[in-house]
């Protein structure tokens, strides 16, 4: 993946193989359908979403106190709490814990935060081997790629490609692409990993201020296998993962898996409150731009996200451009409203990678106004000067043209004015519209002209 290409260019590359785009689209649409089915089993689904959204709203408005409450309770439970202002500090903290325990091999379960912080690369540079234990993450790790989806990391990979990777790395027979057989091979390989690693790192789905416990949801059981077998468990979380009370889990756990995969709940929802007797449990609270986003009135709701991935599965653009086209740890619509906060210049293209269809906001289990935020980010990005010059000039010309009704009305034959003044209406090979679409055929007269002839007498 070349960092210099923007979403549109990367999406064009992805679209070079149309059957594969169809396959990717259908696979994700299938998950959207499973989500619909699961949501419809809950008669008051919309009330549940609204409640979750309001709880998160309260969290954002009281985050300071909840963080303090959580920290105090977690410490009382025997958890060692760390604070990291940014990705670099987060990585240093994790590294220091491993060094203290003389650990040079670690097993990790899914944590998008560590992807955001590029922890694996950092630890590898420091001589520490990291093995991702979520099957999808292990697969992309073997392929030396980042995850393309926050819940389904290797959704872009075909089973034959996974078979090739397993043949190379795990010694499965050449050409073997049966998911059952491949999963069994991964089970054996990772079981050996779980049994031999002395440190395990996990993400966090929810952290409860009231009790100082945190919850990790997995289907595979990899977070639990790692954490309960290792001497040291390090859990990393963004500061926005706090929820006020334990009973609120009864709201969020009903929403998370149904929205993510259409399951009624993940196989395991594990509540970690205290370290195992004689072992260390570390928790790293990471800011990395979240407190800045909290201060952006138009965008702070993005921090409500519970990382279910439903907005990606429903997004018609994501389904047809693939997660890697977003060139950021969190792809899709939610990624496109989170990423500009971290680096506006580098991610200036992402809020434009949407038709603003609004499907994302309406599948979102915590009712984040994702598509409205995409619209608002566009305004900010243009004002901050990150729009490309060609587009700026085009827009200014178009505005100028529209500003004068006289020019618009008297430009002569229908269509001509439009074709001259609207960026997508140029009928030649350089026009991206015309590449795969015909231009509308200009009629004999515009409606304005027709109206002058046929209704003028009644007007004004």
């Amino acid at each position: 993946m070349k960092e210099t290409k923007d979403h549109a260019a990367l999406a064009e590359v992805f679209n070079a193989d149309e059957p594969r785009v169809n396959w990717h689209d259908e696979t994700l649409w299938f998950i959207r359908q499973k989500r619909d089915k699961a949501a419809h089993t809950v008669a008051d689904w919309e009330l549940l979403r609204e409640t979750a959204s309001q709880i998160k709203h309260n969290v954002l408005s009281n985050l300071h106190d909840y963080l303090l409450q959580f920290e105090a309770n977690a410490k009382a439970n025997g958890i060692i709490v760390h604070w990291a202002a940014d990705a670099a500090e987060h990585n240093r903290i994790v590294h220091a814990i491993l060094q203290k325990h003389k650990v040079d091999r670690m097993v990790k379960s899914k944590s998008m935060l560590t992807e955001e912080c590029h922890l694996n690369e950092y630890l590898e540079e420091n001589g520490i081997e990291v093995i991702d234990s979520d099957l999808g993450e292990r697969i992309v790790q073997m392929a030396k790629e980042p995850p393309s989806h926050i819940v389904l990391p290797c959704i872009h990979k075909k089973k034959e490609e996974i078979g090739d990777l397993f043949h190379e790395h795990l010694g499965t027979p050449a050409g073997m692409a049966d998911p059952q057989v491949l999963t069994e091979a991964a089970r054996q390989h990772l079981r050996e990993t779980f049994l031999t690693r002395r440190a395990a790192l996990t993400g966090v789905n929810f952290a409860v201020a009231e009790t100082g416990e945190f919850v990790i949801c997995t289907n595979e059981g990899n977070a639990d296998m790692g954490a309960h077998l290792a001497d040291v468990h390090i859990a990393c979380m963004g500061i926005e993962k706090i929820i006020p009370k334990r009973e609120h889990l009864g709201v969020f756990l009903r929403l998370l898996a149904r929205s993510a995969t259409g399951q009624p709940i993940t196989t395991y929802s594990s509540h970690f409150k205290k370290p195992r007797e004689g072992h260390e449990l570390h928790l790293v609270l990471v800011d990395n731009g979240r407190s800045i986003q909290l201060g952006r009135e138009d965008f702070r709701n993005s921090l409500k996200c519970i990382r279910c991935g439903a907005c990606m599965n429903t997004c018609p653009v994501y389904r047809r451009s693939g997660g890697h086209s977003y060139h950021t740890a969190v792809a899709g619509p939610i990624g496109a409203i989170l990423a500009p906060n971290l680096d506006m210049k580098k991610n200036a293209d992402l809020p434009f990678a949407s038709t603003l269809c609004g499907s994302c906001s309406n599948v979102c289990p915590v009712k984040i106004d994702i598509h409205d935020q995409l619209y608002k980010w566009r305004q900010v990005i243009v004002k901050e000067g990150y729009a490309d010059t060609k587009k700026t000039l085009g827009m200014k010309a178009m505005t100028q043209a529209f500003a004068s009704p006289a020019t618009f009305q008297l430009a002569g034959k229908a269509g001509r004015w439009f074709m001259r003044n609207v960026p997508f209406a140029v009928n030649n090979k350089l026009n991206p519209w015309y590449k795969q679409r015909e231009m509308p055929a200009p009629p004999k007269e515009s409606f304005g002209e027709w109206y002058l002839k046929n209704r003028k007498k009644r007007d004004e």
Binding site: N62, L182, E247, I265
Partner: protein, 195 residues
Amino acid sequence: MSSRDSILAAVARNQPERIPLPEIPAFFTEEADVLEKFTTVAVSIGSRVFRVQSLEEVKQVLLEEHSGARRIVSAFPEFAAVAETTIAPGIDPHTLADLDLAVLPAQLGVAENGALWVTDAQLPLRVLPFICQHLALVVPQKNIVPLMQQAYEVIGAQEYGFGTFVAGPSKTADIEQSLVLGAHGARTLSVFLLE
């Protein structure tokens, strides 16, 4: 200023005006029989469900289902003849690597999602329900609640070091969305609804 203090200061500065915590509404619950509902959902997520009247019955079913099991661990003393029932909390969890079957009590079950709640009150070792090849959980029928909301009402302020909801066998669909049971945890889950 430490990172802790600077983060907290930035959060305090940037958080919006306080919005009250909403009352959690009483969510809709079906009239239907919770045991029936639990069974349907649990089976749909890959669990095997048995209604039984005694632990003896549990034992019979399990010995038949897992006749090849060489190593069984159970938290029920009633299983002493066929299983290790006195696992000390202090032992190295790695020694359970060859465990075929774990038979444990669950505190409660949830009809809407087929999940069962287990804490370290039932677990001599946290890794037990994950590291075993096969898992069996026994829950009293009267402890099946309709929704997660009621589950957390029952859990309340319960004290535990670790607790988990287990819903079905370990699974993954990471390879082309093909569902495979038996990812890293138990390959099967047998649920016994005890009268």
